[in-house]
């Protein structure tokens, strides 16, 4: 199905205080990682409405990454717990509509974990590349 040059389209929604800062740190340290990710910054993963993720898949995203602070470290105490619960539910919804739930991933990367951020991106890109283009792609406008 996919041609040789196919590159996954992956969107990352990440919190300002931990994962965004961790991603910046990977930059300062010049830690290289794959280019196939586009990040959107929110203040906290608690902001991530399941609608955003469904919209992304509907628009043809091949994968979605939600990344926040470690449990206990959320800048707003518990936004990441709430987000994790939602992502968990959402994964079962994805399965029900026939999408592999590995296309949605939630990770926890702190402001000091630049190297971990790079590792996460490598992992996510590998996983999605292996899964190939999203079956919803053909419906995306």
């Amino acid at each position: 199905m996919a041609d040789e040059n196919w590159k996954p389209k992956i969107i990352a929604i990440i919190c300002n205080w931990c994962s965004y800062a961790g991603a910046d740190l990977a930059g300062s340290a010049r830690t290289q990682y794959p280019t196939d990710i586009r990040a959107i910054r929110v203040m906290c993963t608690g902001r991530v409405d399941p609608l955003f993720i469904m919209k992304a898949f509907q628009d043809g995203a091949d994968g979605v990454l939600v990344s926040g602070c470690h449990f206990g470290d959320c800048h707003y105490l518990e936004g990441n717990y709430k987000a994790a619960k939602r992502m968990f539910l959402l994964k079962s919804v994805l399965k029900n509509i026939g999408l592999d739930d590995k296309r949605l991933r939630m990770t926890f990367v702190s402001a000091s974990e630049g190297a971990k951020w790079a590792k996460v991106i490598e992992d996510v890109v590998d996983t999605i590349t292996e899964l190939g283009p999203s079956p919803l792609n053909e419906f995306a406008r």
């Binding site: 929604i13 300002n16 800062a21 203040m43 402001a111």
Partner: protein, 673 residues
């Protein structure tokens, strides 16, 4: 999405930064700029060497005026670095500063894709398109000014915390100094002398401790811990647990009607107390009673009962007599204080070096740590300043100093970092034994000697001249002679390139340091991040080394990372200065990222109310129906409610659903929405 307030016609300006070669080295900036000019709503696109410079910022202001822009996009570094800069430039041009959006094409692009110019350029184009989509929907927002409580708090009363408290107090600010131990002073009060000047540690510290105790603006709360923290910069409510001390100060006694009573530090109680236990200040090397002070210079000079070991015999109460200072039924008390800003100065502990089995600490009598050495060489210490071998009380002549004992250790047992002060204090220790014990020879086993500070290298030369022996190599193991209790230090002398075995009478391990035990719990209370090793994380390693990502909370001393006394004091003064700014300004601006209830849509289900971690939401009766109401002063703008509301009735300012959906669409659908 009913609430979209689309501007008749968004007019966006895009500015792409080269950042010298930082960005332009891997991204084709001109191509990104040209691409930007083709995007919907973009009326001007430009590029510049350094957008953050004055001419760069002027470009923004000029374009706003000339092109009647409704929104500005700068594609450059991280918004965590320069969003404030460009917001100011946007404001300068006459637009509301929140009509600015940044595309991060440096930290999250050019620097992490240095060898993929094509992909990096494509990613930068996407980032710009995403930012333009958001900028087209940005709205005017007015930051909220809130008054700042005219008081500060310092947590931790070591030399760092004391200095921060003194500076804040001397700047006229009421300061609460919270210390978990019965006295202030921290680790520095356990030291004998201090490098490189060899000042007596207590002699330079005690006057400061007295100043702290006497300062009219400092409320000293020893034997007290932070229990809970609520609020935000300018308005923190900190609940303190005043641990049951069992002994009343003169003021407390007076409050109970015993005028002229209270503890005067006479110590009669200590003489009669029958309970004997190890003194933690002397690292267990001398005894202490259940009712105690750590050492004669404690501040405040008041006794404390350790209720874990107290048998409640009441002998102390009797001998205390009319002073009525002792209350054996004391319980912990709680108090909540309001402060505007907070400095954390919670210091360090010694790494449990027994975990490095090969050196035999706690197994061989004559292997001690450097902190134990400080107490043993100190005239007010357990041996009156006579360095002795624990095994037989003899004076050691050959003393091995093992540096990096658990520091710079990547085995997983020790710490990967350098503990920074061990080289220097070990040189100091070498000097001290040469000075005190005729004929003594220090053997210093080292990997590198890091004598980085002012007059430190000179101190190193001096110790070399005094006859200390330096052996370069990491110590593999230490073996005890079971008869003599002497120790064999085995290492490879890397300068000679051969293994050696040095027999010594005593070994001193320069053990690594680690964040103090309560650091983890404390940082969580204050919402401060930590680095991978557990040290508290500064807001920016170069540009904001005293701040944290939690506005209003600052760092001083070793809690942020190992540093010696001069660096601790310097950082404390920096933290105090930073913490005094909001207080002296009198008000702070909060980012206006509040939740707003769209009352037309709100179904009054109340699901959001319990989600808010700050109790900012409530259901109220309005025009005959129930709707949610936000208390702006409590809302911190996390968006947890907005991410959940089933009807989309909560608008998160600056992160609205239409804005985020537009970003998603812009990326995936190429922005043709």
């Amino acid at each position: 999405m009913a609430e979209v307030k689309k501007y008749e016609e968004p007019r966006i300006g895009v500015f792409v930064c080269h950042c010298g070669t930082n960005i332009a080295g891997s991204i084709d900036v001109k191509a990104v700029m040209e691409y930007a000019s083709t995007l919907p709503n973009v009326v001007i696109a430009d590029d510049y060497q350094y957008m953050c410079s004055t001419p760069g910022q002027n470009k923004i202001a000029e374009a706003i005026e000339e092109q009647k822009l409704t929104g500005v996009v700068v594609a450059a570094c991280s918004p965590r670095l320069h969003e404030p800069t460009f917001r100011a430039a946007t404001k300068e041009g006459g637009l509301n500063p929140f009509r600015f959006e940044m595309a991060n094409i440096r930290e999250q692009n050019s620097w992490v894709h240095m060898h993929q110019p094509e992909e990096a350029t494509a990613k930068a184009k996407d980032a710009v398109r995403i930012a333009v989509a958001k900028a087209s929907l940005l709205e005017d927002l007015i930051p909220k000014s809130v008054p700042v409580e005219q008081a500060a708090m310092v947590v931790g009363g070591g030399v760092g915390g004391m200095q921060a408290a003194l500076d804040l107090a001397s700047a006229g600010i009421k300061t609460y100094l919270v210390e978990k131990d019965p006295t202030i002073g921290g680790r520095m009060s356990q030291l004998d002398k201090t490098f490189p000047t060899l000042d007596c540690s207590q002699c330079i510290l005690t006057p400061k401790m007295v100043d702290v105790f006497r300062h009219e603006n400092i409320e000293l709360l020893t034997y007290t811990e932070v229990e809970a923290v609520e609020g935000y910069i300018g308005n923190f409510d900190v609940t303190l647990r005043k641990k049951a001390r069992g002994v009343l100060t003169t003021e407390e006694a007076e409050a109970r009607g015993f005028v002229g009573g209270g503890c005067n530090g006479c110590g009669d109680c200590e003489d009669v107390c029958p309970v004997i236990r190890p003194n933690p200040f002397e690292l267990g090397m001398s005894p202490m009673k259940a009712i105690y002070i750590y050492h004669p210079q404690v501040s405040p000079l008041i006794y404390t009962i350790d209720f874990d070991s107290c048998v409640k015999c009441g002998l102390c109460v009797d001998v205390c007599g009319d002073k009525k200072a002792i209350d054996l039924n004391a319980v912990d008390e709680f108090e909540t204080v309001k402060v505007g800003t907070i400095v954390l100065a919670t210091g360090y502990d010694i790494f449990p070096v027994e975990e490095k089995h090969e050196w035999g600490y706690k197994n061989y009598d004559n292997v001690i740590t450097s902190l134990e050495f400080e107490r043993l060489i100190c005239a007010s210490g357990p041996t009156g300043g006579h360095l002795i071998r624990p095994s037989d009380g003899a004076t050691p002549k050959r003393v091995g100093f093992v540096l990096c004992a658990g520091s710079r250790d990547n085995t997983g047992v020790g710490k990967p970092y350098c503990s920074r002060f061990c080289c220097m204090y070990s040189l100091k220790h070498a000097h001290q034994i040469i000075e005190k014990i005729p004929g003594a020879v220090p053997y210093i086993f080292y990997m590198d000697i890091r004598s980085f500070g002012k007059m430190y290298e000179e101190f190193y030369y001096r110790i070399q001249d005094e006859g200390a022996k330096f052996i370069r190599g990491r110590v593999a193991n230490i073996l005890e002679d079971p008869v003599t209790k002497n120790l064999h230090v085995n290492t490879e002398d890397t300068l000679l390139g051969r293994p050696i075995d040095v027999e010594v009478d005593m070994v001193v391990l320069a053990a690594a340091v680690q964040p103090s035990e309560k650091t983890e719990a404390t940082r969580r209370l204050f919402g401060v991040s930590c680095s991978q090793d557990g040290w508290l994380l500064e807001a920016h390693p170069k540009l904001n080394p005293c701040g944290t990502t939690t506005a209003g909370v600052y760092l001083a001393g070793v809690c942020q990372g190992p540093k010696d006394i001069p660096d601790t004091v310097a950082q404390a003064e920096g933290a105090a200065s930073a913490a005094s700014i909001p207080i002296h300004r009198g008000e702070v601006e909060l980012e206006p990222y509040f939740a707003v209830c769209l009352e037309d849509i709100c179904a009054g289900c109340g699901m959001c109310v319990n989600l808010c971690p700050y109790q900012a939401l409530a259901l109220v009766e309005k025009d005959g129906r129930r709707v949610m109401q936000v208390t702006e002063a409590k809302c911190k703008g996390c968006g947890t409610c907005g991410g959940f509301c089933p009807g989309g009735a909560i608008r998160m300012q600056h992160f609205t659903t239409p804005q985020i959906v537009a970003q998603i669409d812009a990326f995936l659908l190429g922005g043709e929405q």
